[in-house]
Each structure stands twice: as structure tokens, then as C-alpha cells.
Symmetry: D3
Subunit: 210 residues, 6 copies
């Protein structure tokens, strides 16, 4: 149900209200394959560029996808690197098998058309046609990662849509969702009043939100 009603901006506003004002990377992490809202729990991977023959190609990527849990969102912290497409159709297929619901890549992906055809949500900085082999590799799994200075802890709730990506710290999760829920409803009221012809300034004075 939450999946139908929440969206990134409402959750972000709820976190603002809780004093957590830095929970969304200010980066174009675009939904390249699907529309709609992606909601799940962070499965974190930390990536590095490499330039030599990888003695163990894809090693931790494979561990990551094969050990995904239902509702996992793979978070690939690649520091914005466009060195290769670190995620593609085969990883999507394998991850989905284990219940993974999408991927957020601070870097590049490939096989866009195929992932779109399978309706697998993939948010990324862009695309790169190069295979990641001997170009990038996962150097750590299930550790705290950062994207644009925003920290993503393993297991935290993450919401992503066209507006952006928001991560919810564990300790405030219930409260944040409750408030986001309230915000969604309050905005509906505000919108209806404005639509009815009330001035935005009057509505803001009355409800205190915008």
C-alpha cells in the first residue's frame, strides 16, 4: 500500500520536519527504464575503477545479486564514474530472481532497452556501453556508502522516482512514513483549495505548508 501512495518529495519533506535535511543526493539519478516509484531497502555495494586484469572478475557483484533478499534495492556507489556500465540485463535478471526490486547506480548502466522490456527499475547517472570487467569492480558489500555526501546504510528504506532519491534512516523510519503520509493528505487539501480559487498565500497562511 505504501508503494502506491508514497513519493520521494513527500518523504523528503517529512524528513525535513524531523530535522534530517540531507537525505537526498543532489544528482541526476534518472529512472532510465521504468516510470513510477521505487521503494525498497538498501543493499549497498561500493565500487572502484580499475585498469588492470581483474584476478576475480565480477566476484562481489555476483555475491551481491545472488544473495539479494525480497525488497532489496541494490545501491551501487560508484562515485559517479562513467568508466563502464556496471549494471545490465543479466544482473537485473539474477537480482530479480532473489526478490530485488530495482537498482540505484551513482554511475553508468547498460542494456537499457532490455531492462525496460523486463520492467526492471534502474536509476542511474547515465549509460556506458563498456562491460565493467577489468574496468570497475565491487570492493565492498553491505557497508555504509555515500552518494553526493548522503549516507546509505544497509537495510535503510529508500524511495526513488523522477524527482529524486531519498533514503530514510532506520531510527526515524516509522515516524517519517507517518508524517509523509500526513503530508500527502495535507497537500491534497491544499491543492484542492488552490484549485478552488483560493490564493496560494492565503492557503499557506491557513495550513502552513506549500
Amino acid at each position: 500500500m505504501m508503494r502506491q501512495s508514497l513519493y520521494s518529495a513527500a518523504v523528503c519533506d517529512a524528513l525535513d520536519a524531523l530535522g534530517l535535511r540531507r537525505q537526498s543526493p543532489r544528482l541526476p539519478l534518472k529512472p532510465l527504464t521504468t516510470s513510477g516509484v521505487l521503494v525498497g531497502r538498501c543493499r549497498t555495494t561500493l565500487w572502484a575503477n580499475i585498469f588492470h586484469e581483474d584476478p576475480k572478475p565480477y566476484e562481489l557483484e555476483l555475491v551481491a545479486v545472488d544473495s539479494c533478499q525480497p525488497d532489496d534495492v541494490v545501491v551501487a556507489a560508484a562515485g559517479g564514474s562513467m568508466h563502464s556500465g556496471v549494471w545490465g540485463e543479466l544482473l537485473s535478471t539474477a537480482a530479480r530472481n532473489r526478490g530485488c526490486v530495482g537498482v540505484i547506480v551513482d554511475g553508468a548502466i547498460r542494456d537499457i532497452a532490455a531492462m525496460r522490456a523486463m520492467s526492471f527499475p534502474a536509476f542511474a547517472r547515465g549509460t556506458c556501453v563498456y562491460d565493467s570487467r577489468d574496468r570497475q569492480r565491487v570492493i565492498d558489500l553491505d557497508v555504509i556508502v555515500e552518494i553526493d555526501g548522503v549516507r546509505f546504510h544497509p537495510g535503510e528504506l529508500v524511495i526513488a522516482d523522477e524527482d529524486g532519491v531519498v533514503v530514510v534512516p532506520k531510527g526515524v523510519e516509522t515516524e517519517a512514513i507517518r508524517r509523509a503520509w500526513d503530508k500527502v493528505h495535507a497537500e491534497n487539501v491544499v491543492r484542492d483549495e488552490i484549485r478552488g480559487g483560493t490564493k496560494a498565500s492565503d492557503v499557506f497562511r491557513k495550513y502552513g505548508i506549500l
Copy 2:
């Protein structure tokens, strides 16, 4: 009628011919919610990033939307800041109530999906999920603003589509539109001749346009 026939490139070429060669920002101000051409008059707002609690949140934003006139295009000169989403569904709703036909933001917007659902044209550098409260604010209304060095005066005609955003100085407006109109028709002739098999070089020699 003008709305059906004009597009940014034709107007830009007309301005070129009038010696006004710097009337379009060289920036990706993309139509994030609608397709088609946005035509209207500049309602200018100047924005600044802030980092403290705003004593008067949304103050001038609210004035701006509540005082919109028919055919206004809100121009938000935010210097390309992605610090927050300065425009969203509620401002769109309020502005449209007063006749505003769209918004051009040199910065970020949010509530993309909702604005698309209401067919409100919004051109922007991108999206940001953060509320603008205590992050950005309007510091001046109805002043000359610049986007990428191009000056937008209050009341000037602005044309925006997928190709770009063009602003027409008051003094040459009638002449520019007349010439744009001619250019559109001349291009139709040229295109038809080329389609008919004439070489581009021959057509250019004959008509002097491309």
C-alpha cells in the same frame, strides 16, 4: 494562432537577422512535463540560495504566483542552483489559476509527475526533491534577470520548446514575429525542394537560407 505556428528556432533565426544574436541561453532547459511550444510573457523572479531559517518562507514566491496575469510565463532565475526544487505542483496550480501558462527554471523543480498530469509546461535544468523552504527564496520580482548571460526583461515575449528557450526584446517584437513567420514559410519551400531531390547546395544558392 501564433502559438500553433511559431517555434524557438524560427524566432531565433529572425532575431539573428535583426542582429540580436544572443537571445537564447545555451543551457539544457528541458521540457520536463509537456511537449509542444510554450509561448508567453516573462514574469521574472530572482532566486538566491539560503542556509538559515527563512523568517518569511515562500514570501515572494507567493506574491509572484498570486499576481500572475494571463499569458505569463514565470521565469525563475536561480543561477542553475540544484539546491532545492523551487517549483512544484502547488505553485503550478496557483499560478495557472491566474492565467500563467508555464514556467522556465534555471534550476530544479519537483513534483514532475503531478505537473505532467495537469499538463503544466515546466522547463528546467533538472529535478531536486528538496522543498525550497530554508534553502532558496525569491529575492526580487519583476526585475531584469539573466540566464546564461541572456537578459530577460519583465513582459518580454518568450518562446520555449525542445530545441531551447528564446526571449524577444520588446522593441523588435513585431518585426521578429513577422520575420519568424516568413522564415517558417521559406523553410517549408526549401524543405519541399530538397525533398523533391534538389541538392542542398543548389537550394541554398537559390534561397540563401538553410
Copy 3:
């Protein structure tokens, strides 16, 4: 037939296997007008920004489009310049007349809507509404050009889609296509096994590809 089955990532992997690991620019050269895969042979043009009245406007552009051969893809190496829209509807029309199948521009294009209406594939860094006249011009035709350090020789095979742009050196063309073909089929097998529930790590161990 090749057109139906090849895509940029498969060709890129084939080139990797042949030791040619730098055949795709790491740049967002996006398909702005069509979807699908563009395949053809490089017709190279080298562009420069200019700031004075061009004594011979469009001179080499016109030569380029009027001398296109069937299957040509015009490659416009403009160094990422957004100074003007160097390609548009009229050039597309003229080039297509001679058999040109698309254009790849490391720079800006305009008339997006018109080129989309005519289904002319155009890959570019973005759009710019300015006419190229007295802003950019072709300074050389049919020479080796570079985009992001990747060399494009006249006549080389180029494949472009949503994932990226890949150029195939003449000497390895047959072999690269053969291997790409094999890769496509091998990936189909791998994908089916993963879909069937086999772990990605097991599949990679078995087939050695991902």
C-alpha cells in the same frame, strides 16, 4: 539482418575480446529523435567554432550532405560545443536523399521535433536553438576525427543506440561482427539459465560471460 540483431553493447564486448578497449566515447550522445539501433558507415566532418561572418556559409556542410552515400552516418566532431545547433531538419532531409541513415553529433542539434517526425536518427550531446551560420562551420571532411579520444575513421562501421556509440576499426570488422553475434547468442543462453533460477555466479562459472 545485422541491423535487427546487433546492439552497441554486444559489439563493444566483441571489440574488448579483440583487445580494442577504447572504441566508445564516454559521453552522453543521446538518441534525441528515434529509438532503436543506428548502424552505418562513418562520414566524418570536423567542426570549429567561429565568431566572425563566415565568407562561405555552410560550405562544407552542403558538400557533406550532397555527397552522402547509402548507409552513411554523418559523424560531426564538434568537440562537444553547444555554440549552435549544427544539424537540423533541412540537412537531415538532404542527407537522407543521398542515402544517409543518421547523424552522430558531439555537439548540439536543433529541429528535434521535425527530425522525429521524419524518423531521422540523430544522436547528440543536446540541443541548441541557434543557427550554425557564423557560429560553427565544417573545417574538414572525410578526415580522422575524435570524440572523447575515440578515433572515427571515414568508412568505419558505427553502431549507436541508447547505451552508447561504438565504432569498429576496419581491420577487425568481420571478426568483431562475428563475435558480437556469438555474444548475443551466448547472452541469450545465459539469460535463460538465470531466468530459470540458476545463480549468476554459477552461470558465470559455467559460461565465463556476464
Copy 4:
């Protein structure tokens, strides 16, 4: 005394140890006029770009410099704007009269040679020869500002040298300085041991610092 012995890296390490790991902007704010370490208390100014005739030119700049206190470091948060040189010789002269010891500008300055001649420390992103009049203005004084996401509160201790700029939150100031002091001395010991020929790994194992 503190002025002679402290430097930015030692203070930054002390703040790290206190769990405050984001107290230095990751930006090239270079000492353009002097060498050595600048130490003082933040006098914050928030700047915005403008494009119209300023009805009250230099208004808050003048208030800022004329109300400086001994040991003030003017912090000009201009968001990295290079729109004009917001600080120069005359402001330096006026500010120094009131006891100001230097300026840190997240933007551009001018009159470099003159400020160097008067030994006035100025850290900035670079230079710009344009007067700030009708180009940038102070929109707020003595408010919290941010440079690259790092918050500078009025009155906080700031240390700047060739390595970078570090700001010390009020609550931990005494403790941070004490620890920085200890760190300086510990590093002296470590350096001497390494110089004496001990391996870095052995020294790190022994002292736990590097």
C-alpha cells in the same frame, strides 16, 4: 600563540576525532595574497547574483566592513559565483581598520596585487575583474551560511591555510584546540621517529596516528 602553532590539517584531524567529519569545504579556496595561517572568527555574509541596477549599491557590504570586530574573518558565501570580484582593496582597508584579519570568499575577488602589498589575507576561488556593483550583493549578514555544504555560524573559529579551510563549531572549540595541539606534538614525535629510520608501518602500529 595559537596562531603560530595551529594549522588547518591538525584542527581537522581533531574534529575528526570528535566525530565532526565535515568541517572543511572540498573546494580550492586558495590564499591569493599571503602565505601562512589565517585564524579568526566568522563574520558571515550571504551573497546573490543580480542583473539589474541595485537600488542600494554595496549596502550590506559596507555595513559588514564598518562593523567588523577584532579577529573577524569575513566569510563571503557567494556559492562559487565568478560573476564579479566581490572583495578588493578598499573593503580590505576598511575591514582591517576595524580589526578584521582576513577574508574567505566562495567566489571571486579582485585587486590581488594591492591586497598582497598590504598583506591582507584573502582566500578565494579565483579572481574576477568586474566590480560587484549591479552584479552581486550581500543579501544577509550574520546568518548561518554554507560553503560546499559545510555550515559556518557567525562567531565560529575558522582556520585557513594552503591546505584548506576548517571551521570549528562553538560547542567543541576548546576541546578541538586542545586535541589539535596534542596532534601537532604527536606528529612531531612520529615524524622524528620516521626520520630516524623507523618504518611508517611500525610507527603507525606504535602511535596509531599518521
Copy 5:
């Protein structure tokens, strides 16, 4: 005499007063070899990146340096390209022989140490160790060029120092220099008053300059 007393900021302020507010590129064009102020007349060269074997290497560069006139400042408009070092010791030597007093490169130079040793003023975006042969070439001489949107006409007066580069249109040259001269003297008065303890706000109220 003008050489001793003028500097870029004073000239820029004079041009501002004449309504010419865009006569300096907002780019880090740094004096890499000398200190002091460079004053001369623009000898313009327009550059393009190339990627093939140049049939006539250095052709127009050689023409440019061998035809320099006394007081010429070679202006190399290379669009900020760092593709090679387009200027170095040998060109400096040849150009100086003909009276050239310095070079301003919107791009890269090399042989910094040698040019410093010969006290040849070179302003540039930075350095690049590659020879320009088969990498960049002059495509036009003595034409209007632009650096960051600022137009440099052949023969115009140019002033460059650590603060920036300013170009003076022919038509206002005498007036601009006269006003710059006045500005230098007015600033001396203002500075002395401020040094004497008068508040900056009082001085600005009295003299109207800052």
C-alpha cells in the same frame, strides 16, 4: 606611461561606466610566466582541434608570429581546449623579435619555465605538454574572436594582469583610458580616507565609488 599606471580593474570599471559591461572573460586566464600588467593590441588567432595529420603544420601560427607588429598581444582563441600546448618558447622568441609583448591563450601553453626565463608574458588556462602539431591549428588570423562570449577585435587594446583580462572597443578607447585614469586617482583618495579611519560607508556616500 600608461603601462605603469593602468590595471585591469580600473579599465573594467571605466568600461562599466560607459555601459560596456561585458569586456572581460570570466575565466581563469592566469599569468603563468611573469607578474605585472600586460598592455597591447590584439593580434587575433582562431584555433581548432584536429585529429589527423596536418598537411601544413604550424602554417598560420608561423604567419602570425612572423608578421607581429610592435605592441601586439597574440590572442589565441582556442575555446579553452587543453588538447595541446599551442604556444611555447620558440613562438615566444619569434614573436618578440617582431615586437610582440605577450600572449593570451584560451587554452594551454607549454615551456613555462623557458618563457619565464625570457620574461615573456603568457596568460593561459593552464599547461599541456603535447606539441600542437596534428592536434590543434590556427584556422583564421586577424578575425573577430570570442573568449567566454567576449569579443576581441583585431587591433583593440587589451589589458591583462592577475585580476583578469579586459579588452577595450576601439570607439571608446580614449574615453575609457581617461576614465580609468580618473578612477585610479579617485580610488587613491578613497583609500587614503579609509586608511585615515573614515568608515567605508561614509566614504562611499561622499565619493560614490568603492
Copy 6:
């Protein structure tokens, strides 16, 4: 002796002549602590950003410095990251003890003043005051690394000065140095002729170099 006479541009030209035209990163890797030419053999380290508590802080950094050999130049491939200062005074001291002659960092360093005081050559993208602990770490030693697409193999000769950084592949080392040597002498002849008043174009026609 080679140390006295070689410089980066001459070696780069020699490599050009051998058909190796991509041996220098086009990046501002500036000598932040010394002047003069750094010559040595690449000791490569590959770095990654991290965001969690490093279980083995400084592990491979310490191995790297403690195992340096005479004439080693530590090459730190950090992908341009400014996340922390990965090199500083203590590592310099330890590395020099083992014979290391300098460091080239595609990223940030700190303790600039101290390294300058000890005359330790350090080339870097810039400075960052943060300790690298829990921010960046070496993930591989003695592997091929890339800086801006240029490959640095362990043990290869590297030359760095104010103009740039050049790396010489093993197979052509002797020949490249011989040719660089010749180039230095040929340039001396050319320079002297130009100084003597011969036109640059005549000299180029005669000697074929510039």
C-alpha cells in the same frame, strides 16, 4: 645527468615521433611543493573512496612507502578524488627514507607547507585538509593504473614538471630518451637562429621542428 637536461615537453615530443601520442594526462597535476623536473620510476598505487570505518587503516599505503626503492615516484591513481588529502608530510618522510624521489597524485594532498620545507616534490590536482583515514584507501599496489586514460605501468620512467607529466613505456625508453636528448639540442639551435632574427617560418622550413 639526465635529470639536469630532460624536461617533460622534450620527452613528449620524442614519444610523439615514436607514434606514442597519448603519454601525458591532460590534467592540472601541479608541482605544489617544489620547482624543477621530477624524474623517476612509477611505483603505482590504486585508490578508492570509502565511507565506512576502515578495518585496516592505511594498510597498503604503509606497505607502499615502506617498500619504496631508490628513484621511485609514487603514482597515486585516485581518479581525481578530492575526498581527502591522500599524501602528506609523514608519508613523504617515510617514502624518502627508502629512496622515493617524489609523488604524483591524481587527487588531493595536504601538509603542503611541510613538504615544501623538506623539498619533497609533490604533483597533485590540489589540496584537501581531510585525513584519508576512513575516506580513501589504497586497494591495489604495483598494478597498471590510469590517469586521464594514460596508462602507468609499474617501473616505467616518469617525467614531471610545470608543463605536465609524461610516462615512457618500457619498450621505447632508451630510444625515447635518445630522441628527447636530440630534440633538446635541435631546439637550442632553432631558438638561437630565431633569436638571431631568422623568421620562424624559415627556421621551420629548414629544420622541420618547432
